[in-house]
Symmetry: C2
DNA sequence: TCAACAGTTTAGAATAAATATAATATATTA
DNA sequence: TAATATATTATATTTATTCTAAACTGTTGA
């Protein structure tokens, strides 16, 4: 696996030693063809399914938090019952399908720059995120 | 209190009988000069402070949920550890001050209409919300 | 007016996400 | 490889939220 080097580097840059549990987590998170959104529970399930290695919840939480701090993962605030994470750390926005409970990326280029005319003294904007909630369009066709 | 009528109507429209606990909750939520953002814990504390009536957590949760369902309150997704609610149910956006953990309204007029060029087949957009995270601007003055 | 009923309140239990703990195990390094 | 620092894990704890079921209250129509 030629990717292992990259994972080890990501881990070290996150202040984490490369252990086999953490490298497994990296394989799931960063080896994917595409970026994806996940909850901790889903991540644990993926690891369990594709590995013969057991990783404790605590290790998963700690590793995910370290990657977030470093910017290798993003948290998407959606609802208060559970955290959603994103392996796509580029600046982008989201559709949230309220019926299927699923996040869909909207590329930055697909949203005109959000222009906020108001400012707060002494504060600067660090990030701007758009969440568009979508539902089935049951409009009868004209 | 001339407002009581309005509260009773709001409650009835939400499918709730007007009880003294629920009217108290209405007083806190809808009698304010201004709209505000709150967590359930904060709401319970406000009620405790300004009333000689005890309201259980379950009643607060149930009433808040009924008001949300009816559209008298909105939930603001911010982080997964706790729900934030908003008594401002008009279409608007938010700054989130990451240092003070505080939400600040951005009036709809202060944000140019968000133009999303991408669509999802069979789905329509129900709402679009912008959250701009802000931090102290420690830029040295030129 | 008031009994009967439907709906409400409440304390406490249950659930579930997230975090903390501390003993054991592993990675690093000299 | 020995010594040290760090990681892993099972388990406990914390906390937000929801559920439960018994006691209570608002409503309604006789
Ligand atoms: Mn929620
Ligand atoms: Mn929780
Ligand atoms: Zn995304
Ligand atoms: Zn608001």
């Amino acid at each position: 696996m030629a990717y292992a080097e990259q994972y080890i580097e990501k881990l070290r840059k996150s202040g984490l030693r490369p252990t086999k549990q953490r490298i497994k987590i990296c394989e799931v998170l960063f080896d994917a063809e595409k970026t994806f959104h996940f909850t901790i529970k889903e991540l644990v399930k993926i690891i369990e399914n594709q590995a013969n290695i057991k990783v404790s919840l605590a290790t998963v939480y700690n590793t995910v938090h370290a990657f977030m701090k470093k910017g290798y993962l993003k948290e998407i605030p959606l609802n208060a019952s559970q955290s959603y994470y994103d392996t796509n750390v580029t600046h982008h926005h989201h559709f949230f399908d309220e019926e299927e409970n699923k996040l869909i990326d909207i590329h930055q280029d697909d949203v005109d720059e959000v222009n906020i005319k108001r400012t707060i003294p002494g504060k600067k904007i660090r990030s701007v995120e758009v969440i568009a909630k979508i539902v089935s369009d049951n409009q009868s066709q004209k």
